[in-house]
Symmetry: C2
Subunit: 393 residues, 2 copies
């Protein structure tokens, strides 16, 4: 049996830790989805989601993993036989390729490479070359920690007369993506990242131009058909075409209320300070970031593990010896990087906890380092910034 005195800390970029108030709300008796008590929760969630997406348009909700919202974008925007342009820089960007292929696009894949950002100039060239009418890309690439310049990519897409759909599953609510200000046509997200809920809800913020373009396509879709869900959500009172995941909405309502209380700008600022502290810790440990040094890469910090140690052992040691669950690398980065998350319900002490365990694990795995150096560097960042914590319980 597991040692009960190894307390458990969830430090992954999805699922992320859940505030106790959110867990409590989800443990309340289940509501009938057509009862006034649920309709009140549901309506408030729809309104609050618009605030977080920073849009006046529809934020469509699906009972699904985040990939379900991505599929909704492919199912509604891909026209079989026509070109679709995917601009990727990691595992989740590559999922767009699989989705576009599955829905019959002539997919052009602009692969910036794992750990790089997508360059707007490259997108411009590929758009001119393919004449694609839709671009699929990523805000925060969870597999590498890279955050793309979605504002610039959107501008390039629009100048070429294309729509842009952005996977913001791990980024929304952690780093800015003001949908209406930047004119991003489609922003997809999930409940289990910066929105501080368990996995199971997926969202698509869909602007008018994307809705119109979708209406012109008859590619097969039903569950993820935007028009069906938009029609339901626009009713008074709003109505979901399929039974909504009521307990997750009850939690989401509380989580979105916490974001509202903290203030979206302050939420972004907290993530900025957490990211800065994590990067300072990495440097102080004489380790390398995976991916470019970037003031905006504030969702997950990917660290290149030192040569000569067993990469797989680090997350395992951290979890089994110290109770701290972080993620290692995925796909081609398996056993080569460690990923320390700071999106959602994370405060300063979470970063210190994680680096304290990370340092111990590295040392146990045989890597020479100065104990406390990473923690100390992060502490210094927090002291300078004023310690950031999530909205009070």
């Amino acid at each position: 049996m597991a040692n009960p005195f190894i307390k458990r800390y969830l430090m992954t970029a999805g699922p992320t830790p859940i505030p106790p108030e959110v867990s409590e709300a989800m443990a309340q008796p289940v509501l009938y989805h057509r009862a006034p008590a649920f309709i009140e929760v549901y309506s408030r969630c729809l309104a609050r989601l618009k605030d977080v997406f920073q849009t006046d348009g529809d934020v469509l909700c699906f009972a699904a993993s985040g990939s379900g919202a991505m599929e909704s974008a492919a199912a509604n925007l891909v026209r079989p036989g026509e070109p679709a342009l995917v601009a990727s820089c990691g595992k989740f960007g590559e999922r767009w390729v699989e989705l576009c292929d599955a829905f019959g696009a002539r997919t052009r894949h602009l692969d910036a490479g794992w750990g790089n950002r997508v360059e707007p100039a490259d997108l411009e060239r590929e758009l001119a070359d393919t004449g694609a009418k839709v671009v699929f890309t990523t805000l925060s690439e969870t597999s590498t920690g890279v955050v793309n310049d979605v504002q610039a990519l959107t501008q390039v897409a629009h100048e070429a007369g294309a729509l842009i759909a952005v996977d913001a599953v791990s980024g929304l609510g952690a780093v800015p993506i003001p949908q209406d200000d930047w004119g991003v046509d489609v922003v997809v997200a999930g409940s289990q990242k910066a929105l501080m809920c368990p996995p199971g809800l997926a969202f698509a913020g869909v602007g008018e131009a994307a809705l119109e373009y979708a209406a012109g396509s008859d590619a097969p879709r039903y569950y993820y058909d935007w028009e069906r869900t938009a029609k339901g959500q626009r009713k008074d009172p709003p109505d979901s075409p399929f039974t909504p995941a009521v307990t997750l909405f009850m939690g989401l309502d509380v989580a979105l209320g916490m974001i509202e209380d903290e203030g979206l700008e302050q939420v972004f600022e907290r993530h900025r300070v957490l990211g800065r502290a994590a990067r300072a810790a990495v440097r102080a440990l004489d380790l390398e970031l995976f991916g470019p040094e970037d003031e905006n890469a504030n969702v997950v910090t990917a660290i290149r593990l030192p040569e000569g140690i067993d990469g797989a052992s680090i997350p395992k040691l951290m979890r089994d010896r110290f109770g701290v669950t972080i993620a290692g690398g995925q796909g081609r980065l398996k056993d080569r990087i460690a990923r320390i998350a700071h999106c959602g319900y994370f405060g300063a002490v979470d970063i210190l906890t994680t680096f304290a365990a990370f340092e111990l694990a590295l040392r146990e795995a045989g890597h020479d380092l100065e104990l406390g150096a990473g923690v100390g560097a992060a502490q210094a960042v927090f002291l300078e910034a004023g310690v950031p914590a999530p909205a009070a319980a």
Copy 2:
């Protein structure tokens, strides 16, 4: 503000009430989906689902509403331009028509009519006429309370060389559908009915023949592609291709454990007695059942509301005055029927509570009846059968 002394009773056929142990499990700290602690829960759920589906085949899990599992059947089994036969008898059966249409089938709709059962002989005739290779139908039609004879329908489908996919969303775990014994090719279900969990998980029990047939179709699908999910779930340890709804699985594990403890046959027997008691109450109140008198219609009892009263007022009075939430009619049955659920976490007292409030609401709406008559008739059934209750907390 709502009167806090009106206690709340959820008596709908989905979402259904949740055992407190299940709520408690879902309020535990969220687990990382690749951590051993979650893999243990996930593996146990996959095994226990096979027990409830009574199959050795795959029970594929999706983060979705029940309709998501229905969509998986359409996306994997419909071949564009080929005939698909839908045998329906209510709102949810008609969803199969919409799904088959959306996925490009030449859909033939055998409509038995709301409140009737699908007749095997009619299915046989339509199969001969269309040569359809896939039949889509319903076990328990939640909109009317009707339970179809899936064993007979399966036999007819197989004799005609067709596969059969059955929407058992509200029926699975309430009335028998032994998948392997009956040879049902595809059984779809959801977490929020007899499985005693909140909505958000959808399941498809898929036999080998259906998997093979699906492999021969290249209709667009990704999130609901059976092969992708089967491949992940068959790994050791099993792995979901998309982030699973971890808290719902934590609840499901507990709920399936309760079903195991009670024993599946006893679970069915409890539903039989609950259904019998509900029908006895209806008769004692001189009201009419909607649909045929049927010893197997043990998921939801639909009651024709008496002429001359405002049908919409009954569920509303029950909820607002007495805190008891039942469902009215849907679609063409709006305001014409009341639906009293008994699928999942329901025991004898729930039926008595519901009829007690139902009698009061009818009286308040101006219908003359003998107070206590329905309750008394149900009580008599329970006394005779031995009072059924869900597995003890």
